[in-house]
Symmetry: C2
Subunit: 837 residues, 2 copies
């Protein structure tokens, strides 16, 4: 909600009865002098109490030329949630922090439409007054600062001038601040005896928020007529005072500052930021994100801002502005369809996560972790292992991101094999066994765990150390599910390179795929024998991204192939080292053959609908991981903090851990970053994991991880609709937020080669003459999606990987939003098709 | 403030006049029934208004057997800061968020002493009632939730039961929560018409905080006697109601839960956490940190907790407890003398940083950064370059920690040299030129930038690629400053391996050290010529940690040597590559010979008292860096966020940046982590850098970075006292928080070989038969410091690196705290000495 030519503010009060409407009236009168007739809209979205006493009537009475409206007037002078319930006994009240209901969305949409309408009529100012205090409940039951947050209008906070009002005003400010609002000014009655205005003036300077004292209104006169007259005189005098002029000037200034900041960001970025993965020799449009909420960015796109630098619009002149053809809003609402590089889980601007982060910062800041420990870190270790339900794991190591988490995983595994097989790190090199298309991060150590690709080939110290097998891939092609053997013919098969399946679920029915399993095992055995016995190569770890290799281009791997790779190595350790068999332990949880590392950074923690993505290797339907295919080491990041800030965990089995135990310090795992296990990250991760677990839980069936819904079991799980659109009630663990119907349609689209969906991920491979990362096939569709708008004027911000374009939701995206996104994708595909013909 | 046998709570009110004292009385009466006589202390630290109406008198009147005290009664019924000013016109009021004044510290100390005294007398309960609302000013002017934060007593929040009270109660909760308090219960009058108790009960369940409704007290009776009687009856009835019993039971339960959590942390850590750098085969004491504030941890140390598992103390029995000999407090206050692994800058639990983090979380969450940008990230780029004042730098790249920041630096430099000198990454290896003892992080790529050491030698993929010169070191030995040439005789000198200097400052007077400069240049030239011409070795970067190599053992390098290394390579590029001279550009900001990388992760951003540590290479006294020794690339982390959470920046000159510009995507710097430039980190870093700049600014002289103090220039800079203890007013940029007198004393101590101090760092090398990381010489002193207490019963938590023990303050540590720390260190050294003899 930002325009060059319409300035809108939201008035919040530090408490009920602090003079919000009086100060709004003063502000409206002062602004109206600078506006053309009807150029100022006063909007009271929700009002309670008798209609005759409504605030909009007060404004209309005292500020002429102002359009004063109320969207909803409830009859009882109570908190809006109670007033709404009295007027409509069927009204539903919910209180979940930061989780907006349909009632909230509707209210926000109505305010948005009122402001847009006003803008389209040439309006120059808008003042939106809230009801009660900052966190008073909206009719829905949500606290109203949450309800209105998607608009993020700049705020004028009306302070509390009574005894105790210093405390309530600062707390109200803090509640707004932690919800991402910009409080641009504090205004309150100046009552010298209590000293609030003076104290708050000093205090808020630290936050760069100016405070304006306003003279108290006259005592109520006993006669209505005189009362109205003395109030009118008060309004006339105060609204033209120098103090209020300064306030208005300041608000203008902050508006301009915001517009300047937003519109200059792309140029500033160009001059000083070195962006990741950006080739500065190629043209590129940088999008400036002003804020984000839920699944959506509020973003400024230089390319679509036609009015850049028109001087009239940017005028600092406080004289009345001429009505003119209105400028477009500066900010576009865009669905964050890369889930902000695969991180987003619980929505942008989530106040529960913001508060959790703030609590940890307030309780600890960061406290050192070497030989020290704190509650959020310990809780997180238990929380993660409980979530993963991998029977092999017992230890948790902390780092900062997926790449460092995988560096630690590699250090763990290489030491284990070197120790068991008596290899020294001084002689022959030990490599990694993996799959073609894998990718584990951008630090050089883990870059070396992947085959050469455009991501790493120009890095000077990059050296691929290992061997990478070509995996069979899962695709939906023209409505037909299939497993495709690699095109390089390394794995030829009599019946041809493609096997057809009646459904996605059928591919996961390993029991019915006995022949495939044997075929894979045979191929794997022959390949490994050739490498280790013929070529004398050494391997130190098997690293797999379960199900999907993301950075490699959203390659969906047949999980049966990954399963057979693990089982073949574990059951025939001598395939890795001739001495292996004799060294094996009888403990079934010990690693065998090679330590198996699951890189679940992208795929794990519910991204694909399951707590741990290694569980897709199960033959049964348990969401924990069967011991014979469970990894010995796994790495977790991204969704771990719900999409808020960096943190990574590497887990290990006891058999891996014991490798590092000796009486020499130098044998320890000497790896640690300064902010290892930072309390904010751990606290937010605990909150995220428990929220994700609640979201994933189902009703009516007993799954390994389902937990009883708090007192409301019959309401069903949050993802029940997604599950039921894919599956029968018995197998609810292979499903997507995207519907099978849409997926089917997309697969048959003429621009699309193949597609896939699982959990929150949808990936499309487009027709292209050059495939892979260097292809530009998807770029044009990506650009089109930015301006293909849904019914609420929202576009889509997506990311591409060469010829692949993908879409991802958060774990809290509701069905309406997903279906709207699907509609936009289908429409953009059609338009793209039409444009090409 | 946690004991097994004393349970203490602090009562905060959501606003003034919400019934805090009435509910405190009820709670006191209910608790007193469970306590021995005089076993409950009611404490009102600050009270305003007539003495006869004081809350402690009300309590004494209505709750018999309670010890009711007030520490300070002001005569006027106003906000305490105004009341204090009226009673004492010289009283000073300050309003800086989270920055406690001496008045605050004194008040906290008094409360602490009162509670300890009560505990020592066998007290079992304490109720500490605050004044006004949660954020009402304390007498000092600080908001009281900040003032009392060092105690972090568990909180009972008295909610506001009036219309609007839902908002004020939740905001008050949020203000406490973001300051790290544990709100254990909310209690408020239940007035069904407003529905507050019901709403808040639902709402706070999300925060796991139970809410208790309390019947309203009777209307005030006109006769005093009857009023007192009806109030007494009300108290009797309510305090024995089942609802209040539940509340008391819950508070007991939460106390036990806290004690259990704290005392079980070491064992839980042992079972599930894999700690960084820990050798599990050696005994190790894990310290559990319950919270932290300013420079201090509140920590539980299993080894000093004598009463572990005594059943009487842990009883859940609500019957009166027998007075017994009191148990020691469970938590020890420890100075965080490693600055939590070198990160801490602005104090633990800093509410300004917590609020900044929360605002960014609320406005953005994390938003993706590839081809996108947001305000905090752009501001931070400008902010950093403005801070560093390095004339070469123009671009900023984001990663997550020092190690990844250095990976990026290395990728930048190697590409630049490979491109200019026509080297391919496919043939001969290009190494790093550096110093012995350097260390740049734990990811494998940057591990390879350092010589073999206990940190890396067991890492399987570690391969030292480069050559490391032995640097001359600065030491204070027995009161004598000296520069010592390397012991390995690689740099022999006629006058012997040690040069003496009259002061630390004299070492930095490069103009007077012409002979040393020539000697260094000659040695460097010969060495490099031998390597490149004779041995045909290739180097891709010179990497230096300015002044101090931290992880390598706090090795203090003669900055003149680093200066000459840079100048020699820059002025004689052909020493690196024969073709170099012809390829040099005439632009003096272009890199020459080798890209120079400054690893300022530990030393930069004011850790050593200067904004950028490369400026120690200057011959002049400017705090910016001279262009001829300014690095082409620098890495920054740790203090960047003031000590709150991970973020790293790598800067580069335009000449480095241009290396990556082409028309091929694969030539771009393909490095990026999921949370690259996360908004929380950037926002907190902006806040930290501006706060650090304010702290560093001086008054009375014009330094490059000094800024006018806001309206108060004559007050002087925060570090003026530190500076003046070291220097004459003209050269105020080589100084330490630690005093020269203490340093001198330490250097002469029989246990100490040598020592050094600069900025916030003090390092001692102890006598030891084995030197380096594998030495255990410092471990015994380290253990002793945990229990060597200062006047306020605070010990010291320090870290050692083999035979080196070091101490570090934050950048906000005041002189009193530093001097107290110095006293403790000297005392511990003496006791250690005595114990050895």
């Amino acid at each position: 909600m930002l325009w060059r030519d319409l300035r809108a503010w939201q008035i919040y009060g530090a408490n009920t009865d602090v003079g919000k409407t009086i100060i709004s009236t003063i502000l409206c009168k002062a602004l109206a002098r600078r506006a053309p007739k009807n150029g100022l809209l006063y909007l009271k979205p929700v009002s309670t109490g008798p209609d005759s006493e409504a605030d909009n009537k007060h404004i209309a009475r005292h500020a002429s030329g102002v359009v004063a409206k109320c969207l909803k007037q409830y009859s009882q002078p109570l908190s809006p949630h109670l007033a709404a319930k009295i007027d409509d006994p069927n009204h539903v009240i919910t209180t979940r922090l930061g989780k907006l209901s349909n009632n909230d969305r509707l209210l926000v949409q109505q305010v948005k439409e009122a402001l847009n309408l006003h803008h389209n009529k040439g309006g120059r100012y808008a003042v939106v007054e809230t009801a009660g205090g900052v966190l008073s409940p909206a009719p829905s039951g949500s606290v109203q600062a949450d309800t209105y947050r998607p608009l993020r209008l700049p705020v004028v906070l009306v302070g509390d001038s009574k005894l105790g009002g210093i405390a309530t005003t600062i707390s109200a400010f803090e509640s707004l601040h932690l919800r991402g609002y910009d409080v641009q000014a504090v205004m309150l009655f100046d009552i010298p005896r209590w000293g609030n205005a003076q104290y708050l003036n000093d205090f808020f300077l630290q936050h760069d928020v100016p405070t304006f004292g306003v003279p108290e209104p006259p005592e109520k006169h006993q006669h209505e007529r005189q009362d109205r007259d003395q109030l009118a005189a008060y309004y006339d005098e105060v609204s033209s005072s120098t103090s209020i002029s300064s306030a208005v000037q300041l608000l203008h200034h902050k508006h301009l500052q915001h517009v300047n900041k937003v519109t200059s960001m792309p140029a500033h970025a160009e001059s000083i930021v070195w962006h990741p993965f950006r080739q500065y020799g190629l043209p590129q449009n940088v999008i400036a994100i002003d804020s984000a909420y839920g699944d959506y960015f509020e973003a400024y796109n230089q390319e679509t801002d036609s009015l850049l630098n028109t001087s009239e619009e940017m005028s600092t002149n406080l004289q009345p502005l001429k009505p003119a053809s209105p400028a477009k809003p500066l900010l576009n609402t865009l669905f964050d369809a890369s889930a902000s590089w695969w991180t987003q889980g619980l929505g942008h601007g989530n106040p529960a996560l913001a508060l959790t982060a703030a609590h940890a910062a307030g309780r600890y800041g960061h406290v050192m972790f070497a030989n020290a420990v704190h509650e959020p870190a310990i809780d997180l270790c238990y929380n993660l292992l409980e979530t993963l339900k991998n029977p092999r794991l017992s230890k948790v190591f902390f780092t900062d991101n997926g790449s460092t988490g995988m560096e630690v995983a590699v250090k763990m595994a290489l030491r284990a094999t070197a120790q068991r097989y008596g290899w020294s790190n001084k002689d022959a090199e030990t490599g990694i066994l993996g799959l073609k298309g894998s990718y584990h991060g951008d630090t050089i150590g883990v870059m070396n765990c992947s085959e050469s690709s455009p991501f790493n080939e120009k890095v000077d110290w990059y050296k691929p150390w290992g061997y990478w097998l070509s995996p069979p891939e899962i695709k939906l092609v023209k409505g037909q599910w299939q497993v495709q053997l690699p095109v390089d013919d390394s794995m030829p098969r009599e019946t041809g390179p493609v096997t057809l399946f009646p459904s996605l679920k059928a591919i996961f029915n390993f029991d019915s795929r006995h022949d495939d399993a044997e075929f894979y095992a045979d191929y794997i055995t022959r390949t490994l024998q050739h490498l280790t016995q013929h070529q004398k190569r050494r391997f130190g770890a098997l690293i797999l991204e379960p199900m999907i290799m993301g950075a490699g281009g959203m390659i969906v791997v047949d999980p049966l192939f990954q399963r057979m790779l693990i089982k073949t190595i574990r059951e025939n350790p001598s395939i890795i080292s001739p001495q292996a068999a004799a060294l094996e332990s009888s403990n079934s949880a010990d690693w065998s053959g090679l330590p198996i590392i699951a890189d679940e950074v992208f795929t794990g923690l519910y991204r694909l609908g399951r707590p741990g993505s290694s569980s897709f290797w199960n033959s049964g339907s348990s969401l924990g991981t069967e011991i014979d295919v469970a990894p010995d080491i796994s790495a977790h990041a991204k969704l771990l903090t719900g999409g808020l800030l960096p943190l990574a965990l590497t887990t290990a089995s006891d058999s891996i851990f014991r490798t590092f135990v000796s009486d020499s310090k130098a044998d320890a795992l000497l790896h640690g970053h300064s902010y290892t296990a930072h309390a904010i990250g751990c606290s937010v991760a605990n909150k995220s994991l428990s929220t994700l677990r609640d979201l994933a839980s189902t009703s009516g069936s007993v799954l390994a991880l389902s937990e009883p819904k708090s007192s409301n079991a019959s309401a069903g799980g949050a993802w029940d609709d997604y599950r039921s659109s894919w599956l029968s009630p018995q197998d609810r663990d292979i499903f997507s937020f995207f519907s099978p119907e849409t997926l089917n349609k997309i697969s048959k689209h003429p621009l699309v080669d193949s597609c896939f969906a699982l959990g929150t991920v949808l990936a499309l491979t487009l027709h292209s003459s050059t495939s892979g990362y260097n292809s530009t096939a998807a770029a044009s569709l990506q650009a089109r999606l930015l301006t293909t708008l849904d019914e609420q004027d929202r576009g889509v911000h997506s990311r591409v990987l060469g010829d692949v374009i993908y879409f991802m939701t958060s774990l809290e995206t509701n069905e309406g939003e997903v279906r709207a996104l699907e509609g936009t994708i289908l429409r953009a595909l059609d338009e793209e098709s039409a444009a090409k013909n």
